[in-house]
């Protein structure tokens, strides 16, 4: 009989945010599932033992925004390259936005993506369906069909939704079935043409600004509509202090809302644009140092539920143009873990608290059974060396996207092994 091997991961510091566990011990894996943590299940005999002394074992990371660039943008990245990057970064579950070409607005596209991703046997892929056909912001996509095909939510991506009436109907319709509507809060008219945070840096550099009110007005509208329709809403990529305050208010009133922040926005601000550094051309824009501080705190307090890589591989040519013309986005999958750990330690959080935002909390947002080491769940595990320091060298990244503002930074925490469903899918 040749089922998946029974594995004991021995000697690791096991950090499981879902259960609050942070203690040395073993993890026992059988049939691709967690069979036990700490104590071996009755009669457990390991076929394979992994010595993890000095390492941390945590649930595989759950990343809420990873652009795999297929279909349509294979010159930027491929499923092959990005799935490799995911597991190299310890990410075992990821949500991909629908802004491919064509967008994910048809069940066939979603099924094909899921099938191709599954055949690579690396991370688990959960597509977000297009909220509107072609992301054009007019006709609703077939949400029930798309859900059946495997979509876990509906997202407009970075495409604008110009009419509030369309948003109202989309949320009303989604709420009929309990689907989650993902929205990046930005008033399209107020943000039109903008490429940088409205403030001193944009003023100095003469870059077209995006004001904070583009975000706050959108959040107010979305919150009103969420209360009115009862739709479950996820706000993607918060960027401002004022936005975080509004989300906290809405949550305290019981509005069914969750939100996330991109990892870049926890560490960088508009000043990092320096002399027009196009690797800092991101959507939403990097905002002021005060905004960054508030976002860091809001994530620590749980006002912001999760942090994601907002992984967006961009080809070099699309960045070697004037700042405003540069394709927005940065590679992030392989930086998510160390940057999250850095944020956590700088905020004085225990590793379990920091890791919760990229594991159990992110899984809760996504509504999937992942991000924990509870017996019975799939054995998706990230083993990392918490002391290993390394310098970000774009050419050494597995992702085809080499563009990152963290080029040359020294980070601490390196993934050593990634396990999905009890199988090692990455080892360094």
């Amino acid at each position: 009989m040749s089922g998946p091997p029974r594995i004991e991961i021995r000697g690791a510091r096991v950090v499981d945010p879902a259960s609050g566990r942070d203690a040395p011990g073993s993890i026992f894996i059988a049939e691709g599932l967690i069979a036990g943590v700490g104590q071996a299940p009755d009669g457990f005999r390991a076929d394979e033992t992994i010595d993890a002394a000095g390492l941390v074992a945590c649930p595989g990371l759950v990343d809420l925004s990873v652009r795999l660039r297929e279909p349509g943008y294979e010159y930027r990245a491929t499923l092959e390259s990005e799935m490799k990057a995911a597991v190299a970064g310890g990410v075992t579950t990821l949500a991909c936005p629908p802004d491919t070409d064509p967008p994910l607005d048809e069940p066939g596209l979603v099924e094909m993506l899921k099938r191709r991703a599954a055949s690579l046997e690396r991370a688990r892929v959960y597509p977000l369906g297009a909220l509107t056909v072609g992301l054009k912001g007019q006709r609703l996509a077939e949400m029930a069909e798309l859900t059946e095909a495997g979509c876990v939510g509906f997202f407009q991506g970075q495409a604008p939704l110009p009419e509030t009436s369309t948003l109202l109907e989309a949320m009303r319709y989604a709420s009929s079935f309990g689907y989650t509507v993902w929205l990046r809060p930005e008033d399209p008219a107020l943000a039109a043409g903008g490429v940088a945070h409205e403030g001193e840096v944009a003023t100095r550099l003469g870059l077209a600004p995006i004001p904070v009110i583009a975000e706050t007005i959108a959040i107010r509208t979305i919150v009103e509509l969420a209360m009115h329709t009862g739709a479950r809403v996820h706000l993607a990529r918060l960027s401002s202090a004022a936005g975080a305050v509004l989300v906290a208010e809405a949550k305290s009133r019981g509005v069914p809302i969750t939100c996330d922040v991109g990892i870049h926005h926890l560490h960088l601000c508009d000043r990092d644009i320096g002399e027009f550094d196009s690797s800092c051309r991101l959507v939403p824009p990097l905002r002021s140092p005060a905004d960054r501080e508030r976002l860091r705190r809001a994530l620590a307090e749980g006002v912001i539920d999760a942090v994601c890589s907002d992984h967006a591989p961009v080809d070099e040519d699309a960045k070697q143009v004037p700042f405003a013309e540069a394709e927005p986005g940065a590679t992030g999958l392989e930086l998510l873990l160390p940057l999250t750990l850095q944020w956590g330690s700088e905020c004085g959080l225990a590793p379990a608290q920091a890791l919760a935002r990229v594991t159990s909390d992110a899984a809760r947002v996504l509504g999937v059974a992942a991000g924990s080491l509870v017996p019975g769940v799939a054995a998706d595990i990230c083993l990392y060396d918490p002391k290993a320091s390394w310098v970000v060298q774009p050419q050494a990244l597995a992702s085809q996207g080499k563009n990152t503002p963290f080029n040359g930074y020294e980070l601490t925490g390196r993934v050593v092994r990634t396990i999905v469903g009890g199988r090692t899918v990455h080892a360094s």
């Binding site: 409205e198 403030g199 001193e200 944009a202 003023t203 100095r204 550099l205 003469g206 870059l207 077209a208 600004p209 004001p211 560490h267 960088l268 990092d272 320096g274 002399e275 027009f276 550094d277 040519d317 070697q320 143009v321 004037p322 700042f323 405003a324 013309e325 503002p405 930074y409």
Partner: protein
């Protein structure tokens, strides 16, 4: 978190490119103005030519059309005996699919020594400067809303010529600061040179966010803003600004922010009036002021040649 290194000033303290007046040390600005002093006399000679850049090739690459600015650079280069090649790249080249950098690499392959670049996107000259071969210099001749450093410097030359000392001056910049690369270049240079009272005057729709963080005092009321000024700099209001939601009409703009003799009387009696050109008479400035005794608008143009000669000679001389 990123170290902010300067592209335009080398580790040796020498000017490598001229991209912006922001961060240019005061000593460097004074050196440019002093060098320009020498070139003013060249332009007054019978034979208006010196052999400083003989054998050098200067490419005027204008991605955004401007006959006037291009001409002043051309004259400056020719008076330095350089070979000048003018290219109006316009928007057509990029629509043919050639990237900005490909255009630059092609011209570099023709052995350019210096690029004078105008582009509609802020930061385009920085991008070029980052990619040219060592020894090839880039002069920003205006990029988006960002900078127009030679204009800023010729304005400094003009102010120094008439007012000698910057350390006791009150200077007002009036009008569309939001879209003005000229205003930004003036503000950075004036602050570096130590102007204690720098003001911007305009409606809130034409002032960029947090402009006060640049060290200026902000006025909406032009009369209050002009009081006691030694220098009044008027900005050009482009026609397209009058059609959107930024302003109701050119007439109303003139009423509130146009410079008339009556308003100018609020400034010091010996105040000078400047304008980067081209002027919109009756929109931002009244003809009696533009042509009046306090106007130094035409000397600005003359000094502009000398200042551009100074910058080119510093960048191009071995």
């Amino acid at each position: 978190m990123n170290p902010r290194r300067s592209l335009q000033v080398g580790p040796d303290g020498k000017l490598r490119h001229l991209l912006t007046t922001e961060g240019l040390p005061a000593e460097m600005i004074r050196h440019i103005l002093d060098t320009a002093d020498q070139f003013v006399s060249v332009s007054e000679r019978e034979v208006k030519k010196v052999p400083v850049l003989r054998g050098k090739s200067i490419f005027n690459v204008f991605f955004e059309n401007s006959t006037r600015t291009r001409t002043t650079f051309e004259i400056a280069a020719k008076r330095l005996s350089a070979d000048v090649i003018n290219l109006n790249v316009g928007a057509s080249s990029t629509s043919k699919g050639e990237t900005l950098l490909d255009t630059v690499y092609n011209l570099q392959a023709m052995d350019a020594d210096m690029f004078v670049v105008r582009h509609s996107q802020s930061g385009a000259p920085h991008l070029i400067a980052r990619h040219v071969k060592p020894g090839v210099a880039v002069i920003n001749a205006g990029d988006g809303r960002h900078a127009h450093p030679t204009q800023g410097l010729l304005d400094m030359y003009t102010i120094r010529h008439y007012k000698k000392d910057f350390s006791a001056l009150t200077v007002a910049i009036v009008g569309d600061v939001l879209h003005s690369r000229v205003a930004r270049s003036q503000i950075f240079a004036l602050k570096t040179l130590g102007v204690p009272d720098l003001r911007v005057i305009g409606p809130k729709t034409l002032l960029p966010a947090e402009v006060e963080r640049l060290g200026v005092r902000v006025f909406q009321d032009m009369s209050a803003g002009l009081k006691g000024c030694d220098v009044v700099i008027m900005l050009r209001l482009q026609n397209e600004r009058m059609n959107g939601a930024l302003l109701p009409s050119a007439g109303e703009f003139f009423k509130c922010y146009g410079l008339t003799a009556q308003k100018l009387a609020l400034a010091k009696p010996d105040a000078i009036v400047m304008h980067p050109g081209p002027m919109n008479r009756g929109v931002e400035i009244d003809s009696t002021v533009a042509d009046g005794r306090q106007s130094v608008i035409l000397p600005q143009v003359t000094f502009g040649i000398a200042v551009r000669m100074a910058v080119m000679s510093m960048l191009g001389a071995p």
